[in-house]
Amino acid sequence: MSETLAAADGRDPLGRDTIPKFIAYNGQHRRDRPAMREKDLGIWQSWTWGEVAAKVRQLACGLAEAGFQRGDKLAIIGDNRPELYWSLAAVQSLGGIPVPIYQDSVADEVQYVIDHAEARFAIAENQEQVDKLLTIKDRLPRLKTIIYSDPRGLRHYNQPFLLSLETVMERGAAFEKANPGFYDAEMAKGSGSDVSIICYTSGTTGRPKGVMLSHDNVVRSATLAIAFDKINEDDEILAYLPLAWVGDNFISYAEAAIAGFCVNCPESGETVLSDLREIGPTYFFAPPRIFENLLTTVMIRIEDASAIKRRMFHYFIGVAKKVGRSILEGKPVALGDRLLYAIGDLLVYGPLKNVLGMSRLRLAYTAGEAIGPDIFDFFRALGINLKQLYGQTECTVYLCQQKDDDVRSDTVGPPAPGIELRIDEQTGEVLYRSPGVFVGYYKDEAATAEAKTPDGWVHTGDAGVFTDDGHLRIIDRAKDVGRLNDGSLFAPKYVENKLKFFPFIKEAVVFGHQRDYATAFINIDLGAVGSWAERNAIAYTSYADLAGRPEVYAQIKNCIEQVNRDLASDSSMAACQIRRFLILHKELDADDGELTRTRKVRRRIIAERYGELIEALYSDKQAVAVEAKITFEDGRTGTFKANLAIQGAETFIPMRKAG
């Protein structure tokens, strides 16, 4: 359709500059096409664009009737429900700003966001969220009205400031009758430069910051992304990621309205996988963890299947791994292999994709963290167009997107259309300029000034390098990146992630900042190494014993050398190859303060606690004695003595591409 052919800067040729205008347009031009579905009482209920546009209009009028003013904020808290998406649009059409809040936040976090955003209105999905709001209501003097959408369990709540969504809608309908033309006039007042949403980032340090995105940010970024992936009104998605996350707002709300496709809301958080299967989306976004879980489930199921099925599965997955990616990317493949792949599709890949709900999947994205190459390749080999993107809230979701025919597991692709990227020479940090650059942090000038340079570049906080052919590779948080003594870049997390993709390695800590070369601590995975030891008749008594076995050292050495070989193939990272390593006698543990509760390595604490071991790695000792204090589960402490071996690993000469 011509309307989706946007200008190169992402501006709409029809001049629609806010999402409510797109919804109103869809309400006329796609009146009978499905806009939203929600599974309720076991049946998919649907709403057409015509109905959605009418609901939004009614809700907006209802809010206006309840005293909602231009510039007011509405806090939104709940799961992915159609009503909550409507409330986004209703608020925006009145010139207000929605502030979605993560539904699993505790009351204190909710209070901080509502208080900081100065929201006068809140909409909550159900009793659970209403209760949360009621416990903090006293501390939020500005909060005037709370609207709830699911009345269950709320029958006895009789606070005057509590309104059911139904009531608001009814009053809205009456209000509209009395004031025809009100809604259209209000909506027309909206312009692209208005703030469209404030997304509070879940900030790992300190309080969350409110990222203000303008309508222009969202509309232009979404329009460009739609053109990039040729997303159209026939697409289907499942909206299951938190509403408060900018990505869900972008895909399930902005892209849906602009491209006019249908958004499906799952029945509950627990039914996502079966709903996925029923809907069979064509466009799907998931963090790497979800793909990892899917793959693990498949593998476990297959190991329980009958021998014939198992062998058939493994044979055809082998075929897929050999040629699947080439077929997907349209590269030349021998006729025999093509035939085998076609048979495999009939017997294995097709049924498997059906079970996973991926039969119709045309476009899948993953982002957020590094995805294991095996997992990535597995899905691509099945013929699923899984790609990576890179971005953050401040740039309106994406900076880099992989192209359909040029997808790799270790880069995030070239800069997306309309986006300029550069890498700071000094720090290695990635900076960008794009139509999606955020307006600022709400009520935090200092942080805004820190993130944005005067000439419009924004700091991502991530360190990256460009590969020789222009793909961006994110290597680490900028503050963790260091230098080896010879001046070459040292990115510990990048190397650690590569190590952790091996099933034998549970955790790795790599050192090298201001040193001559890189070294590593390794934590073995007791499950994986233990079962390997069992199969190879290696007896062991404890974790420490197993970790110290020479056979285990040989396996880990193997893994490290593979990583080294991999690093050597990339000129910018070749210096990070690991020369010496040791396997720790105990697992790094959050109880000992060595990891955070979300299992991130705490470098400083480990460097302090294991200083001796690190020094030994940089000497020529072949072993080092340790005496460690350990905390048992019951809180008692004890000491542990062991002799840890240190081994060298082969390093490789960096290879440069010919020409």
């Binding site: 309720d40 009482l41 076991g42 049946i43 209760d131 606070q159």
Partner: protein
């Protein structure tokens, strides 16, 4: 935030001078109490006190040798369980009694059996009135599934479910019969704390949303004291206490029965 004080109505079921014995064993001796509309009544007592036998008498599975049971003002004697069910008494069991090979949804649908009117023939033909009826019943069951938050296990055979969820499905099946009186035999036995909390919430919600009268047997005193409006205490087949939770806590006979006294 506080739910409005609920109103407890008239006597729904009255048990008078019930005695039940199996051969020489006297399970219940001369028991009388009342269950009032809209209340949650707990029956407690040490092992072998006769609690389950009492429930079995109420839903017509056992026939007491003496005494009368009056339900909704109608005295009754010698009633079969399915007749009790027709009158609006549903129950769950101490040991889960579900159809293990059937899905959650199908198990709950069995709770609607008494409400189904289509005969064998029209059900076999299915198209027409039987289909319409089936859809209505399915919708009712879906409301229960929604209420008990078990959407994710709708199609899972119950034999594969963890214990706590099976208990919830059993409650769902009892609710499917739209009972006026719901008998729960140890609804929280063998559950962990979180499952117990969930179950408590569902019991209170059922009582509140549907106005169902509930009579339950439970061993967890914390739960009993928290959720019940009134408590009846049995020991060795005799009633030793009857009253509000606070009165029961202070009742010497009850304390003796639970902690033991020197004879």
């Amino acid at each position: 935030m506080n739910p409005a004080q609920k109103t407890i109505g008239d006597v729904l079921l009255k048990v008078e001078n019930i005695s039940l014995s199996f051969g020489g064993v006297k399970a219940l001796t001369n028991i009388s109490f009342e269950i009032r509309e809209h209340e949650i009544l707990a029956i407690i007592g040490p092992n072998g006190a006769g609690k389950s036998s009492m429930l079995n008498c109420i839903n017509g599975f056992y026939h007491p040798q003496e005494g009368t049971i009056t339900f909704k003002g109608q005295p009754r004697k010698q009633m079969r369980p399915h007749e009790a069910a027709k009158q609006g008494i549903a129950r769950t069991f101490q040991n889960i009694a579900l159809f293990k090979g059937m899905s959650t949804l199908d198990n709950i649908m069995t709770g609607r059996l008494l409400k189904m009117k289509s005969g064998l023939l029209s059900s076999a033909i299915y198209k027409g009135p039987a289909e319409k009826e089936q859809i209505e019943h399915r919708e009712f069951c879906e409301r229960i599934i929604d209420f008990l938050e078990i959407e994710a296990i709708r199609k899972v055979p119950v034999g594969r479910l963890p214990y706590g969820l099976q208990k919830r499905v059993e409650l769902g099946r009892a609710l499917a019969a739209e009972p006026t009186l719901l008998l729960l035999d140890e609804p929280m036995a063998g559950m962990n704390l979180e499952e117990k909390q969930d179950m408590c919430r569902f019991i209170l919600d059922v009582n509140d949303e549907f106005g169902t009268t509930i009579c339950l047997i439970e061993h967890d005193m914390g739960v009993v004291m928290d959720i019940s409006d009134r408590i009846v205490v049995l020991d060795y087949g005799r009633k030793i206490g009857d009253g509000l939770p606070d009165e029961i806590k202070r009742n010497q006979a009850v304390i003796d029965a639970y902690l033991g006294v020197q004879h």
